[in-house]
């Protein structure tokens, strides 16, 4: 046991020494918060799939590295990158200034609005301070939706924060939540297509102000891994050029 400890401490020291330099990767570990349908989720057979997963694998293939997906709950996903549990995050992460201070983003690979979802029985057509007064709002902890709702509605409404989008949908079905705020396609595939109850989108899809809603989804890297980010950017441009990107997009969002 003692020996093991010494060896692992030595390993840590070596890792710390080498981590000061950016290095070349043969194997890129990518952190992802599952499930977040249709961006990342598991099929009935337990296989990891989704837009992020397919695009990520295609990018890795183009770069010529192997990809390994590491599952991590959302609220610890950036600290996990910092502590080297994985080398990149590809998990529907919106690019914004707050996060830019922590991580290095690739070019945006998709843009996606947020939206309010509620049971049709709630009977409001727009979400604002008056209609949400006294309501219970569900958000996923640490998301930009959490920040937006916390800063704008915490004085009038109650906010319930969940570790996973799944728990939130469960509580929505259990009628503990009046309304939830999340990425539009995720609400579309988990709530609008739900058989439990009838849900509707309340108001317009929201992607302003930029301060909260940022510039689309990006792949996050550690600040010093500029070379790796550059490789991903080049590969992304190539995939968008040769039609692979459109093919993957159509697989999850239909033709547009």
């Amino acid at each position: 046991m003692k020996k093991l400890l010494t060896v692992s401490l030595l390993g840590l020291a070596v890792a710390a020494a080498s981590s000061a330099q950016a290095r070349d990767y043969d194997n890129v570990r990518i952190g992802v918060d599952v499930p977040y349908e249709p961006m990342e989720y598991r099929t009935a057979e337990g296989e990891l799939t989704g837009f992020d997963i397919d695009l990520g694998n295609a990018l890795c293939e183009r770069i010529g590295v192997t990809c390994e997906w590491v599952e991590q709950e959302w609220d610890g996903i950036i600290p996990g990158l910092m502590s080297r549990n994985y080398d990149a995050i590809m998990s529907s992460m919106t690019i914004n200034d707050e996060r830019r201070q922590q991580v290095l983003f690739s070019d945006p690979y998709i843009t996606m609005p947020s939206a309010w979802f509620a049971p049709s029985s709630l009977g409001i057509s727009e979400a604002n301070e008056e209609t949400l007064a006294g309501k219970t709002i569900g958000v996923q902890r640490g998301t930009l939706q959490d920040n937006y709702v916390t800063d704008n509605f915490s004085s009038v409404a109650e906010i319930s924060r969940y570790s996973t989008a799944d728990d939130m949908v469960l509580d929505m079905e259990a009628q503990r939540l009046d309304i939830v705020f999340l990425d539009f396609p995720i609400g579309q595939s988990t709530l609008l297509e739900s058989e439990e109850a009838e849900y509707v989108v309340v108001g317009e899809r929201i992607s302003e102000p930029k301060e909260y809603f940022g510039d689309g989804f990006g792949i996050a890297f550690r600040q010093r891994d500029e070379a790796l980010a550059e490789q991903f950017n080049e590969a992304l441009a190539e995939l968008q050029e040769d039609g692979t990107y459109d093919e993957i997009y159509a697989r999850y969002f239909g033709e547009e």
Partner: protein, 259 residues
């Protein structure tokens, strides 16, 4: 709040309370994380954690006394159901019990229409129920052990006085058993405080929930978690000293006499 910033620092020992709050505000002035909002969350968390732990301990204690007496009964049909209860609740993780009571119960058909729903709808009460049932199970076993360990001499003395079974339980066995159980029960109280950290998985804003919020929003694990760790430490020490004080009072007769 920022008005204090320009006040010249008075000499140490100034009697004005404002000095301290001015000093405090100065300390936090350039801080991004401990803003009035997050301090509000931490305070809310402290209140929730204290309420949850205190209420579940009181309710658990009230439940545990009769259960412990039943558990030490000679009759199988009285002791067995209690044994099953403590076996199940001590044999499964508290987190699982909380998930079942919070998420599971909500999916019982028609529960939303019953009078129970307004209570079960809030995250607080399912958590309180889970914590109460859990601590009651452990406390029952602690008391039962203490009841079992009552010395023969005490029971024989009570019988010699002609006490009935009930009177003997009330006047002899329980008072002496509670004293013996005190150190073990003190540990259970501390365990309960620490176990309450899981309350944030059901959306409760307890101390850990506040820390997780700050952690997720500012990506600052050290600031967020070290601060709550310090609060938990303070609470633990308060509990520790309270029980040390009780033990000193109640177990005085067990200490060796000074000659």
């Amino acid at each position: 709040m920022h008005g204090y910033k320009n006040v010249t620092t008075p000499a140490l020992g100034g009697s004005d309370m404002l000095d301290i709050s001015a000093w405090f505000n100065d300390l936090l002035a350039d801080n991004l994380i401990f803003t009035p909002t997050t301090r509000g969350y931490y305070w809310e968390g402290l209140v929730t954690t204290t309420q949850l732990v205190f209420l579940s301990l009181v309710a658990g204690l009230i439940l545990a006394v009769p259960l412990a007496i039943m558990r030490s009964s000679k009759h199988k049909w009285i002791s067995l159901p209690v044994y099953l209860y403590t076996y199940v609740f001590r044999g499964t993780p508290l987190l699982i019990q909380l998930y079942i009571i919070y998420y599971g119960v909500a999916f019982i058909d028609g529960i939303q229409e019953t009078f129970l729903w307004p209570v079960l709808r809030e995250a607080f009460y399912p958590a309180l129920i889970a914590f109460t049932l859990n601590t009651a199970a452990y406390t029952t076993e602690i008391f039962r052990g203490a009841i079992k360990a009552t010395s023969k001499g005490e029971i024989e003395a009570a019988r010699a006085y002609g006490m009935s079974q009930n009177l003997m339980m009330r006047r002899t066995i329980l008072p002496s058993a509670f004293r013996r159980a005190l150190p073990a029960y003190g540990n259970e109280v501390i365990f309960m405080l620490h176990a309450s950290a899981i309350a944030s998985v059901v959306t409760l804003m307890d101390l850990t929930g506040a820390a997780r919020f700050v952690y997720a929003r500012f990506y600052a694990p050290f600031d967020a978690f070290l601060f709550v760790a310090a609060i938990y430490l303070c609470l633990t020490f308060a509990i520790l000293y309270f029980f040390r004080f009780l033990e000193k009072k109640l177990l005085d007769h067990l200490r060796p006499q000074n000659s």
